[in-house]
């Protein structure tokens, strides 16, 4: 079994286990030949090209955040700033990014947790129990994926406004209201996704649980939900990102009346920044703001990526 590959990855961190350590050790030993190496090289080439296509524009945004304004306009393409302008970040931070972050965090903590809980509860019941009304309710959730959000804008705003008259914490520009709206608008895809996931879980374990006398809700929380962990992680990432990047709903519902504190979230605030920078021509400040909005999600994603993989390998190794 040769460890030499045509590409530069000679130092493979995880060396293949010695042949014969497990049954089936001989299976592929003769196949690692010339064609394989060509194919391996081609894979790396294509994957690397696509990786550059993805990373280059992002790097460009980050590096533009470190340029001076005149350099952004003079040399838009260059990746290396003449000198590093860290104060772009300080300027953007005090221009409102700090409160955008706080509001976004407050809302996301509640909305993501509730979306996951309510979404998987509904999906589970719809996927694994037969009862009258099952299909209509499923189709009701599914149809939410098809409808253009901005058409509901005016009635939605009216509804929120009227609720706010009776229950002030559910009115416009309130965190709790935005949490509930996010949850409602995220349910469609969460239910759709978890529904197909719960359907792929084996019946045998559920039946075993029932035989052992577990109640329905106990079966869900202690058996099925842990088994659905890979799906939960995926849809969790999806919801965190989706709600972090949501700009239409907050722009519609988090408008502050004069005298009220501004409770803007990040994407909404960035749009305002990008509109305002037209007057101030603070390009580098905008790029700094975009970078600050971008990096936390990238970090969250990279952290969760590991968990996705451990969750999957745990699922595969039975």
């Amino acid at each position: 079994m040769s460890t030499v590959t045509p590409t530069s990855e000679r130092t493979r961190p995880a060396a293949p286990p010695p042949a014969g350590a497990t049954p089936g050790g001989k299976a592929g030993s003769g196949a690692d030949g010339f064609g394989t190496r060509i194919f391996n090289g081609f894979s790396h080439l294509f994957l690397a090209v696509w990786a550059v296509m993805v990373v280059y524009p992002l790097a460009w945004v980050v590096m533009s955040a470190l340029k001076t304004d005149s350099e952004v306009i003079r040399k838009p393409l260059s990746l290396i700033p003449e000198s590093l302008q860290w104060d772009n970040f300080a300027r953007a931070w005090t221009a409102g990014i700090d409160s955008f972050f706080l509001n976004t965090l407050l809302v996301l903590v509640g909305s993501v947790f509730l979306t996951m809980l309510l979404g998987s509860m509904a999906a589970y019941v719809l996927a694994r129990y037969e009862f009258p009304g099952n299909r209509p309710i499923y189709w009701m959730f599914l149809s939410g994926l098809t409808l253009p959000i901005y058409l509901a804008a005016v009635p939605l705003f009216k509804g929120v406004y009227n609720t706010g008259v009776v229950l002030p914490f559910l009115g416009p520009n309130k965190h709790v209201m935005l949490i509930l709206v996010y949850v409602a608008w995220s349910l469609a895809f969460t239910v759709f996704f978890m529904h197909s996931f719960f359907r792929t879980l084996p019946n045998a374990i559920a039946e075993a649980g029932m035989v052992d006398g577990a109640s329905h809700s106990r079966l869900f929380f202690s058996v099925m939900l842990p088994m659905a962990k890979p799906g939960l992680i995926s849809i969790g990432i999806f919801n965190v990102l989706g709600q972090w990047n949501q700009w239409y709903l907050p722009t519609l519902l988090m408008q502050s009346v004069a005298g009220e504190p501004k409770n803007q979230v990040i994407a909404q605030g960035l749009i305002e920044l990008s509109v305002n920078q037209g007057y101030k021509s603070d390009w580098s400040g905008l790029f700094a703001g975009v970078t600050m909005a971008m990096l936390p999600v990238l970090v969250v994603y990279i952290v969760f990526q590991r968990q996705v993989q451990s969750g999957l390998t745990a699922g595969v190794s039975k």
Partner: protein, 313 residues
Amino acid sequence: MRHGVARFVTGFLALPVALYLFYVVWPFAQAAGYSLTDWGGYSDRQQFVGLDNYVRLFGDELIRMAFWHNVFFLITVPLFTIALALFLAFLLNVGGREDRAGIRGVFGSSLYKVIFFFPQVLSLVVIAVMWQQIYRADGQGLINGVLIKIGLVDADNPIAFTNDPAPFLGVPAVLWWLLLIAVWSGAGFYMVLFSAAMQSIPKDIYEAALLDGASRFHTFFRITLPLLRDTVSVAWVYLGFIALDMFALVYVMTPSQGGPNHASEIFASVINFTAFQKGQFGYACAMAVALAIFTILLAALQLRITRRERIEY
């Protein structure tokens, strides 16, 4: 026992359904109601006009054009995104060396996965700012700049990108450029999705195939792809929804939100234009209802075609 099930089902569904009804279904139901009126959106004056708005839809030239543009995206966005995502997932998971555990992924496959997913985490603002610079039509943009440097594009006549209404293969060029952004930002997500599905296929199936002398291409096309069918069809349905709602890209990237000269008009942009620019909210609602019905029919058809028995392993 029966009774317990009913209580359990109700208890689990009550809260999500209530929230969904209040914040999603009810606003849409109201919008559907407005579709039967001539409400402008701002005044309190509205008159019941019955199905007039719907009749008007069929004679609307703009709607017809938008419909065909939607059909274009409906076919191309899922097709190219899934093909590219499958190809990348294939290279990642099958491109590596073969050994006792079957064929392993290429070296660094987890790093590639992390990178490819990046566009998915970007907000609309970031994507818009970025691609506006990439697509700059004045020779300074990323693509024009590079192509002029290597002599493929005339410096006096750079590519116009989203300002270009001229047809390419019968479809306005601007749509192809928007398609590129959609595929660019979507491929990574579906690659990760397919990759996860590929890895959840039990190894012993591959071991058996390898013992039988199957090559990596055979195992991919005869085993992996058929077992991915469910995932691919879910991806297809979801990409279909995205394709029907390319509004964000059209809105940010094209001149006058659907231009130039209505060349990139899609259903959503026509709705937006009618509701908020022309101030015909009732008529716009009728368009949205028609679009929703069309979409639901399409989704039902899709699910019906791709439905088949579950495979448990």
